[in-house]
Subunit: 67 residues, 6 copies
Amino acid sequence: MPVVHIYAWKGFTEQAKKKVIEGVTKVFAELGIPKEAVEIIIHEIPKENWGIGGEPASIKFKDIRTP
Amino acid sequence: MPVVHIYAWKGFTEQAKKKVIEGVTKVFAELGIPKEAVEIIIHEIPKENWGIGGEPASIKFKDIRTP
Amino acid sequence: MPVVHIYAWKGFTEQAKKKVIEGVTKVFAELGIPKEAVEIIIHEIPKENWGIGGEPASIKFKDIRTP
Amino acid sequence: MPVVHIYAWKGFTEQAKKKVIEGVTKVFAELGIPKEAVEIIIHEIPKENWGIGGEPASIKFKDIRTP
Amino acid sequence: MPVVHIYAWKGFTEQAKKKVIEGVTKVFAELGIPKEAVEIIIHEIPKENWGIGGEPASIKFKDIRTP
Amino acid sequence: MPVVHIYAWKGFTEQAKKKVIEGVTKVFAELGIPKEAVEIIIHEIPKENWGIGGEPASIKFKDIRTP
């Protein structure tokens, strides 16, 4: 506890994923939760499978890149 | 708001994904929610990872195709 | 197939929920998927549990209502 | 993008929820993602509905409290 | 690992929840995964929030009860 | 009903997936739920996308294998 599911566009670098895992775990650790209890799952979603405002992100945000 | 996660068998065409994104967004727009607030995530699942009635869909529904 | 999880702020009327269930099911039926195969789960989330831009929606969008 | 679902035992204070929303948003902002694009949903789960090692947390961790 | 999210109609007895937690954990233990690594979250959904075939389960399956 | 989402490290054999689908379905069948109503979705997650204790499982548990 907690379990954290993160849904993001495909393409985060390995370094960015590590920062997400470290950073989110720290948020809970600062509330007094043991780090070992924090489980984080990153789901990478192709932009054509992600819709915003009725359009796929692959079209609507075709020039935006992931970190 | 809302966030919609759609889990479906792998293999929807790009055209079918677009129709899903447009159509589901419209359902919420018709209730008065701004289109830009609707976020849709399509998760494509291999049929061997989807169980129904105790069997993988890759066996039980091996002849059914996605749109 | 498909399974659809909808996450929305708490407070949709029973009528609005019915329209969501009918409308989203129809989107898939129009792609040739049997209506009986469409499963939809609506998750109602208190606005204080929903963060956007680093703030709870209960503060940031305190005057916006659900349909 | 991203959408973050956090599953935790019921009972976080309003203050703890705010810290989670602020802190997790900041993790992504530091990677260059606009804060407004970060959507966070906190799901509070009764301990009797959360199993670890084959037992409900309401029994196994009955003396552990949420922040 | 694994994390298991179970979505079911509201109303399972405490005894039924325990059996689900024990039973599902055992499935993974029999594959050689340590029991302590299995985390299970049961989400109870009101039948009016669950749609099948375009209708809420509260109408379509109004006489079916949970165990 | 129910819908079960299982999140596990990538790499389960086809045989292991079948056992999971059969076994988890049986847990619900033993509570009196019709097998045909049990829907199971297995999500395979690369270990570098799974964080425990602030570290990716690809580093922390680099020698542990899936069944």
